[in-house]
Symmetry: C2
Subunit: 440 residues, 2 copies
């Protein structure tokens, strides 16, 4: 098939993902033309350093350091791969105002400024395509926006951060400490030198905000996503859970409770038979529960040049052939613009918990801990004093507790009180035991 | 949002799936209008018996027994849910010729007459949307057509028949015979009274032809898909495999070998850690390996009124908002029209196999079997004579063999020869041990 039309791309950013897009486009350009009739051409690349050699696919004359060059009339689509929020926001908004479609992989930008970006896009009648913001190469945004469009989605459970999933998988599979597994992730390029955004759950919260806004067709205020990370998890916890039939994952959870939404990121124990439990290493997995379709699950690499470029290029093709959605879906936003959504008070939810204490091995400690649970109306289904798995020696022993269903607020209050007990050596580790939804 | 446009549907067929579509549309019509600006109205339903009461969502005056009524000028989209090939083909082709878009859930029709249908659709410039033909509610067609469009797909592994997957899961989980598990499937409505189309692998072959045509952008001749079913599998096989770390699935496999494609449906042992191994009961799962994205996997219910209606309605919405693909993707076809694709001779592939014989317990039998393997140049990695798990009594004992990698043609030839050995009581059961692709 001959190209019946040319689509010219302005690329903002040429780091790992940007170079991946350049490479993939150069590989697949002819195949895409054959399939779609559109010839996708790289017209301009915004970079910080124009002198660096970027290989044979990047002719030096299309490099530029001036953001305004992306607004040249011949450019049809601006692809934003800068990351961060400030410059990226400027680049995206000015592209939209210049009447250009936008493709972005920037989850922080969309999670925090989605309302502004999509309002401007609606006003200018252009598409903003965001497949690469969540789940890397997994086409989960498309699945929600189109494939499941006829469903009322009731729940979303996601493993959306490959770094955390690698660390947790590696700890259990090779019996490593958290620190060693994280160091491995850094050595393999799966974690940043500063891994805080990943291991704290903040990155997962960004993706959850975007996915939930699409799935529930509701504006989401990122500040209403409660996020907890994996920093406190120890190998002993993973082993203890595994022995009870659970696998620990950093889960991003969005659930409908009547007219309200509950949004959380937290380390959770999942039944080993759930498809999410089969998501290992740097892979991501997202389970969506629709009222008509039931449980569907999407799996793949959540990051990396190839997978992200795959999603970016799919969005470019969608824009090229005119099938990118320009629907009035509500899109996440922080602050005043994210009104109209009712949030379930997270402390009112009920759940079971695994809790591990490191306690001094002396009389009375157990009684003290038991009293706190009793006073917070939490009843226990199991209690084990385990052999110490860590470096603390024989004076400090681990005490592992599994609760019956209890109010999350009561669990949190109990944990706060425990931290202040002198015989409790460190803040307790609490992992929610998640009961994934029965299908309707 | 007010409806800015009305889309009128003519529905062909109002059985289980058709009623599901009517119900889901009536539930979600307002939400869809709010999201898309299009009001989807049911204008006409083609039925065999117009006198049957079809509930409050179906006004009797829109029922008709005349296929020609679907071609009335006010109808925009014909939704074909008749099943079968003859009438369905007529309905679909005349709708296209009348300039109407078509949505169909009919995998047999598309697998056998796709080339004709899509050629006509291209000629008339209308969309034919087929999400519901494969994987029920799982939006895997969309994932291939759009989400992975920038990839060269190298392999597809699918569990695409819920009946077979239920039978195999149920046998192992509850230690049932094949016959009992199949009877359960029939009682639960997961299998037809005549289950031949499912258990023989023919239904999986239809879906594989459609998915492979999309994934490889190649015409597929359904007759080049070699299909084997699960009829010979016994509980003893599933247990033996499980003990070696495998789960048995009826797999639909499409692989690229250089410029040729290999297409097969067959019972296969998969490593228990593969996401496909976590696909249980009536669920479906499809793994796609793209050169840029790596391994992605899609999971959900493969059949049933709700999931199929979810896919059908998603396609209707795509047509309604103008985002349904009208790309020149090659589409499967049988016979003379499916030219241009080179097929890998399946007997030239190499694989490991699990093989179980029922042999008479007397001297010389093992030597005879071993000689056949040797003459076919098949070397064995393990051989076990197991306790009999079945009704055959002590004179007939099971002999289980695991081969090293061998030419599939040699394995098949050996199996054929074994069947003619008098001391081999029944045709041997052979299950391929699948090594899923390492990602590039």
């Amino acid at each position: 098939m001959e190209a019946s039309r040319i689509l010219r791309i302005g690329l903002a950013g040429c780091g790992t993902v940007g170079s991946g897009v350049v490479r993939l486009l150069s590989q697949q350009r002819q195949a895409i033309t054959r399939r779609t009739g559109v010839d996708i051409q790289l017209a301009r690349i915004l970079v910080r350093n124009p002198d660096r050699d970027r290989g044979p696919e990047v002719p030096p004359q299309i490099l530029s350091t001036k953001a305004a060059d992306l607004l040249a009339p011949e450019i049809d689509v601006v692809v934003e791969l800068l990351g961060g929020c400030d410059t990226a926001r400027e680049v995206v908004l000015s592209a939209i105002r210049a009447g250009k479609h936008v493709v972005t992989a920037n989850k922080a930008l969309i999670a925090q400024h989605g309302a502004v970006v999509f309002a401007e896009a609606a006003h200018r009648n252009v598409s903003v395509a965001i497949e690469a913001t969540c789940g890397g190469g997994v086409p989960v945004v498309g699945a929600i926006q189109r494939g499941l469009v006829a469903n009322r989605i009731d729940a979303l459970y996601g493993i959306v951060n490959g770094t955390c999933n690698f660390v947790l998988s590696e700890m259990l599979d090779t019996r490593k400490s958290y620190a060693d597994a994280l160091a491995d992730a850094q050595r393999l390029g799966y974690a940043e030198a500063d891994p805080a955004l990943d291991v704290s759950g903040a990155d997962s919260a960004h993706k959850l905000a975007v996915l939930a806004a699409l799935a529930f067709a509701s504006p989401i205020d990122l500040r209403r996503v409660r996020a907890e990370g994996i920093e406190r998890i120890e190998l002993a916890d993973l082993i203890a859970g595994y022995e009870q039939g659970y696998v620990c994952k950093l889960l991003a959870i969005a659930e409908r409770h009547g007219k309200s939404l509950a949004l959380e990121v937290l380390p959770a124990f999942l039944d080993r038979s759930h498809p999410l439990a089969a998501v290992r290493g740097v892979f991501n997995g997202i389970s969506l529960y629709g009222h008509a379709v039931g449980h569907t699950h999407y799996y793949g690499r959540g990051a990396g040049a190839g997978p992200t470029a795959s999603a970016v290029l799919a969005d470019i093709v969608d824009v090229a052939v005119g099938t990118a959605p320009r629907l009035p879906y509500p899109i996440p936003a922080t602050g005043a613009t994210a009104e109209g959504t009712s949030y379930q008070p997270l402390d009112e939810l009920e759940a079971r918990y695994y809790i591990r204490f490191q306690v001094q091995d002396r009389p009375g400690v157990l009684a003290e801990i038991a009293r706190v649970f009793a006073e917070q109306r939490i009843s226990l289904s199991a209690l084990t004093q385990r052999d110490p798995h860590d470096e603390t020696g024989r004076q400090i022993v681990p005490l592992v507790v599994t609760t019956h269903r209890a109010r999350v607020g009561d669990i949190r209050a109990a944990l706060g009180r425990m931290e202040r007990i002198e015989a409790v050596a460190r803040p307790p580790v609490a992992i929610r035991i998640v009961d994934t939804p029965e299908e309707a």
